[in-house]
Point group: C2
Chain length 440, copies 2
């Protein structure tokens, strides 16, 4: 049987998982690849650090040169995170004739065009299934399985950390800080979770998917995005009362006048599949013009789900499927103009949830509904309760503030923003306005 | 740009959909295939029959010889249903050097080994994404995307007609016959719906998936199967009371001692993703040892969803991916022994739902629980209501029959069958015993 020599660069959680699949399940990988996949080198930063996978003698090294200078190594799973030295190492590996498998979405979202163009110049390939949605094979599904379709929309829960936090806040009524701490203890959140909870990670993944599905060439940092880091459990509670859950939703919608892209906490109707995605799971709903809606749900992170995606890419690369796909689809090409333009954010249509803190005196609701009406925003529902201490004797009602929740009908983002500014400047509105999108 | 000439044999619903994608969306298919896909011939049975797609001059023909004798045609979407002449035509096309794309699961389930072996001998390929679950690309997902995994289980709603009927019976409280009629009017069910509603179609699809996922070589007719054709709305109502929905579930479960395969109406816990699959949708839950659970949901039939799968296969065949996969994976090989043996049906463990019609007199429940206990089946819950006319004066209670529903804890199929026989022979049991499996 033929043999393909493989190296892993970066033996963190995912790298160890890939090593385990290659070492412990050689029968399986060789059956699926039609050849032996032989783990020849595993590059680590610190040889002394204990690892949760036992490597055969001679495999582990702390020198990337051992991979670069070994002409027998054909495929490298490059599993170092961050931008540098990951970028330089990937370029060096390709110069040395290695095909690349990577899980590094930040690197692709930032330097995709440079890396893919260089790969094409060198006759090399880059496979990146693990860069989006962990174990869900969404890259292959969009690039190949649904290739007869014009994708019309993509809606995804793409950040497992955020979804875990929001689910736990929603189900246990816990505070953001408490749940974040729990997520860190469970290994779902990094010590510095900023990129996960502020929407960066989801925007980077959305930029990759939007490129595959729509030919959009978009800098991820241009995608309007909000994270869950400012989310209050009050909003989860009100949403639930209204029949919704809040999810950090990444959305790409194709319209006549361009592509809408956004990432943000969004109210999703209870009972719909995306609303029911719990804990660290990811999910993606794709609508194709021929296939209609297809829904994918699975583990978006974690050692073995991500290793599953990386190893499938190693198999595809060894078999030669990756090369055919890579040569056919001009992904991340600096030469190709984008096939779609981005829509002006202000024209995006959607429903909105507003939560205000208002003075409990006459005229408040009139002032707010007037501000909305001025921007032609019509109201679908309102929740305003009596203040909890309204019946306390001697309490001066005029000093009290109460929450006011308004759900609107469809309005443009521009109108919603303009109304928000007006509302925030009203004297009867005493705190910042929370505004969230509602999935239609 | 290179050109690949394509023919369609069989211009029914799906064939017309494929023609539409090729003719109307040449920009899209050529971008995804890296070459022009040119519809050169479309073979119909009756030239005079009106079609819902307009074909360019010279494309339509009623002679298969026009395809077989045209050396320029490289890929043929063979979309004739049934076993013959579909089998002979497929063999003739392959002899003539054509690669095949098909949606015919009955043909593959029956003659897969012969057809695939002949394809290999001739250096040809067969792609069959559309044969299972319509628009859901489950074949590619199991064969390629999840190739790093040992699949541990597959549970699927694979027959859209059955699911439509059961959903409508459940939601509208309608009778089987009324809903079947509606399904036929809507085009969801054939004039002769036998193969859909008796479990044959689902068993054929399960046989294909079991081969891909587990290397099982199984005659679909050996798969224990029941359809929904005997389902009473009473059982849907009782299931709902117990917190379940009934779904026609196709199951493949890998255990230490072999593979369990079955198709049958099954109680599925409300709120779980499979229970919420409505109307003509299909869904599949796959568990892989690395990736964990992955859930797929989409349209399992219909013109454009199925055409989406066929056209993706045409693209894959033109690009060359199909060849690599076909040559790597020895699917349906007559030379290879099966990698897994089937479990003895009697040893399968599961929970059961029993519905009995019993005499409303003392000792009835005691007799039934004794029969279950003799086969070591323990009871989880019981529903027995008073007869509706129990308070009618002068009514002789001893003449009445009442329904009795029993949910059991886990038991073997052998024990459940033995207990069923005992219960049916009890004098207090006046009608046939309904026994359904409960998904665990």
């Amino acid at each position: 049987m033929e043999k393909t020599n493989v190296a892993i660069v970066g033996m963190g959680t995912v790298g160890s998982g890939v090593a385990r699949l290659l070492l412990d399940h050689g029968d399986r990988t060789s059956r699926h690849a039609g050849r032996t996949l032989w783990l020849k080198k595993a590059v680590v930063r610190d040889l002394a650090k204990p690892r949760d996978v036992e490597l055969p003698d001679g495999v582990v090294t702390d020198s990337i040169a051992d991979v670069i200078n070994d002409p027998e190594i054909a495929v490298v799973a490059q599993l170092i995170g961050g931008l540098e030295p990951a970028r330089t190492i990937m370029l060096d590996l390709m110069e040395a004739g290695k095909d690349i498998v990577t899980a590094n979405k930040a690197l692709l979202a930032q330097h995709g065009p440079e890396l893919f163009t260089r790969a094409r110049e060198l006759g090399r390939t880059i496979a990146f299934e693990a860069s989006v949605a962990g174990g869900i094979p969404i890259i292959a599904n969009i690039s190949q399985c649904l290739s007869a379709n014009q994708i019309l929309s993509l809606e995804g829960i793409l950040n497992g950390t955020s979804n875990f936090i929001v689910s736990q806040m929603d189900e246990k009524g816990a505070s953001y800080d408490d749940v974040l701490k729990k997520a860190q203890d469970l290994g779902y959140a990094e010590a510095d979770p900023t990129m996960d909870v502020d929407g960066t990670d989801a925007a980077q993944k959305l930029a990759i998917l939007a490129h595959l599905a729509f030919g959009a060439t978009v800098d991820w940092s241009d995608i309007p995005r909000e994270g869950i880091d400012g989310l209050s459990s009050l909003d989860l509670a009100y949403s639930r009362k209204l029949g919704y859950r809040i999810k950090l939703l990444a959305v790409a919608n194709l319209a006549e006048d361009g592509l809408e892209l956004s990432v943000g906490p969004t109210l999703v109707k209870c009972g719909t599949p995306l609303a029911e995605v719990r804990d660290a799971f990811n999910a993606i709903r794709v609508i194709g013009d021929a296939v209609g809606p297809v829904f994918y749900h699975g583990l978006g992170a974690g050692q073995m789900p991500t290793a599953s995606a990386v190893t499938a890419d190693i198999i595809d690369t060894a078999v030669g499927r990756t090369r055919l796909t890579f040569e056919t689809l001009e992904y991340f090409s600096v030469d190709q103009p984008p096939r779609v333009k981005l829509r002006d954010v202000d024209t995006l249509q959607g429903r909105y949830y507003f939560r205000l803190t208002v003075a409990n005196h006459p005229g408040t609701l009139a002032a707010i509904t007037k501000a909305l009406a001025e921007d032609s925003i019509s109201i679908a529902s309102v929740i305003q309760h009596e203040p909890e201490n309204a019946d306390v004797e001697g309490q001066d009602a005029a000093d009290e503030t109460v929450p006011l929740v308004v759900m609107t009908h469809a309005a443009s983002e521009g109108a919603a923003r303009s109304a928000t500014e007006k509302i925030e400047s009203l004297p009867c509105v005493t705190g910042p306005v929370v505004r969230l999108r509602v999935k239609q």
